[in-house]
Structure formats: C-alpha cells, structure tokens
C-alpha cells in the first residue's frame, strides 16, 4: 500500500533531515527533543507532501512546521511540567557539537547564546536564516504578525550580539 509520492518524499527527507535536525537542536536546546521534533515533522510533512513539495523551499516549509509544533508543545502546561530542559541548554552544548574535541567552539558558543533567547525570538531568528524565509511565513509559523517577527528578529540578534560580545571579551 505504498503512497504514490514515497520516492519523492524519501529523497527530499534524506537530504533535508540533517538541516532540520540542526535547526531543531538549536531551537529546542535538547538533542532528544530535536530528534523527536524532526521525526514528527517528517511524518506531518508526508501527509502534507502536496503542500510541502509545492512550497518555494520545502525544507523551509518543513522548518516552519517544526517551529510551530515546538512552540505549541512549549505552550502546553503538561509539557512544561514534564520538561525543564530548555532552561538548561548546557546539555545541548555539551552533548551535541560542544563536546567535539573537548572544547566549546564558535558554533557551540552561538548555540549557547541562542538558548538564552526567549522562545519566540529564537524561533524567529532561526527561521529567518534556515531557509531565508519571508516574515509572512515566519509569522504564520510562530503565531504573530509580520511586524512582530521583525521585532523578534531584531531583538534576538541584539541579544545574540551582546551575549557573544561578552564571551569574546572574557579572557
């Protein structure tokens, strides 16, 4: 009972998943959550493949689905009670790429700085750059107006700049 679009979907999924996984890890701040999010997103993307494949950037479209799901889960009170991981981003840094060669590299620094941003700011910044998504698409994904997206991105980048500046000044 194979679906008619299995081959096309699988080919896209194999190419897009590493990027979605990186996006999800930075967004969720936790490797395990990120893998769950990506897997859930792939399943959802399969069922909406006619929409995903028709998008200008299928990976960007999937990223908006992923961000939307993440924020929805974050809003869930039950989820909040069960998980308190995002507030402890060191796990993402140390357990992910930060452990590479035993040092915190520039990417991990940025990841740690991202983890310190409010959820909406972090999502807006990442969606802006994961596939150069327009503000309208980001707004739809995170549930706000396009003008608010610009505000989130602006404030998020300002916070990142401040956080990274502080680290660079620290001996």
């Amino acid at each position: 009972m194979a679906g008619r679009h299995d081959d096309a979907f699988t080919a896209w999924a194999q190419g897009a998943t590493p990027r979605l996984l990186r996006f999800a890890t930075l967004l969720a701040g936790d490797r395990s959550d990120a893998e769950d999010l990506v897997q859930d997103t792939l399943v959802a993307a399969y069922s909406k493949w006619h929409l995903v494949s028709a998008a200008g950037s299928p990976t960007g479209y999937a990223a908006t689905m992923l961000a939307n799901r993440h924020l929805s889960l974050r809003r869930s009170a039950g989820r909040e009670r069960r998980r308190q991981l995002v507030s402890a981003p060191r796990e993402a840094v140390d357990g992910g790429y930060g452990a590479v060669e035993g040092s915190i590299d520039a990417r991990a620094e940025l990841a740690a700085a991202l983890a310190g941003l409010p959820q909406q700011h972090r999502a807006a910044v990442l969606l802006r750059y994961v596939a150069d998504l327009p503000d309208e698409d980001i707004a739809a994904a995170i549930g706000c107006r396009p003008v608010t997206v610009r505000s989130h991105v602006s404030r998020g980048l300002a916070s990142l700049r401040a956080a990274l500046g502080e680290r660079e000044e620290t001996p």
């Binding site: 998943t17 990186r22 792939l42 069960r82 998980r83």
Partner: protein, 307 residues
C-alpha cells in the same frame, strides 16, 4: 561584531554537523516506519475513551446498527437483521460512487487475521477516502480514521468487532454523504479484546528519554527481531524484557509485543511478519515511563484508571 558577522555565524550554526549527518538516516527510517504504520488501515486507529466494559453495549449497538440499516430498506424486522449477523460474509464489498457509498452487506464476519475489504472507486476521483468511525457505543478499541480508496482495493484491516459508520469522503473533508452502517461480527472469536491497557500499558506521554529515532530491526523470527531491537537500546535502557501481548487478531501479520523495564510496562513494539522475516519497531510508550520521567507518580499498575 558587525551585522554581517553575526548573520554569518548564525548561518554557520545552522549548517549540519557530522553528528547530524550520522543520526539523520535513522530518523528518516523511523519516520517512514511511522508513516507506514499510520497508513496501514488497521493501525490508523484512535482509542476512544469509552471503557472496555461497554463491550456488551457495543454488541447491542451492532445489532441496533443492523436493525437500523434494515429499517432503511434492506430487510424489515429485527429478527431478519439478527439472522444477517449470523450469516455475515467474510469479505465486505464497498463501492465509492460519485455521491454515495454502497456496501454489499450490513455485516461482515472477522477472519483470523482481521477484516477483509474489497473496495472499488467508481467516483472518478483519485483523492477519494474511505472514512470509518465507531457507530453507537464503542468498545474503546474500535478504529477511526480514513484511507485513500485507491490504496485499499483488496485490503485487510484490523478493526475491532462492533458497529461502524463508513463513508466515502473527498480529501477536502467533504462529509456530506450519508454513511453506511456496518457491523463487524466475530463468530469465530478471532479477536482478543482489550487494548494496551489490558497489558498494563497506558498509552501516551512524551518520547524524550529513549531516542525515538531507533529504527526497526529485522530478523528471521519475531523473538529475534524483538531481541535485536532491545540490543540496540541497551546502552540507554537496560533491563528490558520483551513478551508477546495477547491483543488484537490472533493471526494478524502485525502483532503487538510489550517491553518491560525493571518489570514495569515500558513501551510496545509492533512486530510485522514480512516475506521470510519479522520486523520489530518501537510503537507506543506506556505511562509508567512518563511517571519515571516526571517523578510525580509511582509506576502505574494495570488497575490504574484510564486517563
């Protein structure tokens, strides 16, 4: 730091790492496994909140359903309807026409491996779906969902016995057509009633602790496939033990196994018989696992009420 520098660093951070590249194939495999599971007619089920104690009512609902169908023109009295239940065919003929659904009989008898359908699409719409949902009181195990008609044709589904409303729907969600009510009977007692709760597994909860990207294993026996799956998880989830769960259709090529962690139900495994092999994949996490995460409850016993 300039704006350009910051933008460059964010873009660099979004580039996949070596670990991402290594982990991704397993995530895709697991997602496709879930897709295939969901696409399977018998697996696209929603466990309704009604208690299993309503099984007797469901049987009454089945007879009621047949009676009601009969009153719509198939036959004229409850006795005739009851007789049709006893003589139910083993294959249910379903035809989706442009503006209505036609079923070959008001009842269908379950087979040892499930319920057999023969579905024909005469609507000229390739996006036509067969929708199904429990009619009347539910056993709590009955399936609900929809599958593309053109993918069904000769299909075996694992719908639990009981009364169902079937309808042909376009993918846009058109539900204007009147449903057809069909009763699945089980004169041969092929269906082992009781959902996951019967084996002490209260479905639900997050999947944070175990890496859900663990793909399915494939071996020559069901036991070996489950053991191989356990071996893959061993580094993070020690002391797992697997056992077949006596639920669903006895000869179904898809069987449920239960993995216990430190003696408590932990996660179910879907074991599928393929040509010359068995494939085992993680399926539904059990509530004690959630309890172990939150630390707010002790491990759930089978007597714990459903949420």
């Amino acid at each position: 730091m300039t704006d350009a520098d910051l933008e460059r660093r964010v873009r660099e951070a979004l580039e996949p790492t070596a670990e991402d590249l290594v982990r991704s194939p397993a995530i895709v495999d697991a997602a496709m496994h879930r897709v295939s599971t969901t696409r399977h007619p018998g697996r696209r089920r929603i466990l309704l909140p009604a208690a299993a104690a309503l099984a007797a009512l469901a049987l009454a609902g089945g007879v009621y359903g047949a009676t009601r169908l009969a009153s719509n023109g198939t036959s004229s009295d409850p006795a005739t309807a009851a007789a049709s239940v006893a003589q139910a065919p083993s294959v249910l003929e379903i035809t989706c026409e442009k503006d209505r659904i036609v079923v070959g009989s008001a009842t269908v008898a379950a087979s040892p491996d499930g319920v057999h359908l023969r579905v024909t699409n005469r609507s000229a719409d390739p996006e036509m779906y067969l929708g199904y949902r429990p009619a009347g009181p539910s056993t709590g195990e009955q399936a609900a969902g929809g599958d593309r008609v053109d993918e069904l044709r000769e299909a075996r589904v694992e719908w639990a016995p009981g009364a169902y409303d079937l309808s042909c729907q376009r993918s846009g969600g058109d539900r204007s057509q009147a449903p057809a009510r069909v009763v699945i009977t089980d004169p041969g007692e092929h269906y082992r009633p009781g959902g996951l709760e019967k084996i002490g597994c209260w479905a639900g909860g997050p999947r944070a602790e175990v890496s859900w990207a663990i793909g399915p294993s494939r071996e020559t026996t069901a036991q070996a496939a489950v053991d191989a799956l356990i071996d893959r998880m061993h580094p993070t989830t020690p002391r797992l033990a697997g056992e077949p769960a006596p639920i669903g259709y006895v000869d179904s090529p898809v069987q449920t196994w239960l993995l216990r962690k430190s003696g408590a139900p932990w996660v179910t495994v879907r074991v599928e018989a393929l040509s010359g092999a068995y494939q085992a994949g993680l399926d539904t996490p059990c509530d004690p696992y959630v309890a172990s995460l939150s630390g707010q409850r002790e491990a759930t016993s089978p007597a714990t009420p459903a949420r």
